[in-house]
Symmetry: C2
Subunit: 123 residues, 2 copies
Amino acid sequence: MAAAPYRLSLRIYLPNGLRLGPGKIALLQAVATQGSISAAARAQRISYKRAWDLLEEMNRLLEAPVIETMQGGKTGGGARLTATGEKLLAHYRAVLDAAEETAGGALRAIAALGQIPEDTPEH
Amino acid sequence: MAAAPYRLSLRIYLPNGLRLGPGKIALLQAVATQGSISAAARAQRISYKRAWDLLEEMNRLLEAPVIETMQGGKTGGGARLTATGEKLLAHYRAVLDAAEETAGGALRAIAALGQIPEDTPEH
């Protein structure tokens, strides 16, 4: 099957002011993959401070922290997702998958409204 | 039924570079409701130039313009959605509705991870 002719991103706003969008989610995924906040920040091309602020915001506004740091702690030790962090990632992916699955027709209809690229021979 | 404990927004990226998110969609809805670009811009609390730039970008990157202006044209006459503009709005709403319908469980699970507000008596 060809790649979808669009990319979908979603942002969830909670009543306590927390916004969960592609940036925070990608950062959590990067922490899970990289095993440290500094490596995750580099992988996401954001500053360590920015990564820390985003993670701290989630830690503060969710029922429990999304990551836990080990040894060196904030200044460079390892970090990994907590159960809450894992749940958040899994639920977010479920929402995205459900949207793409159920709304595939409407998404393709929107994509079809997009101008045909100039390098398509028949146009 | 109680209001959902979250708000969802989505952004669709097309290969030609067009991003369709809540801002452009709300602007289109405002043009449909208000009947002019200047009134739509005021309703959206954006400048006329910003509204015009967003609409022009959609006009340029979709198969056909999303709005058509009447009489005074760009400088203040009426404006309304074209068939392409109406289709875009309808498809976008369909994607949002489908996401909320299919992914309601996962969305509520994410919302449940949000901290309980301080003014909730039982906490």
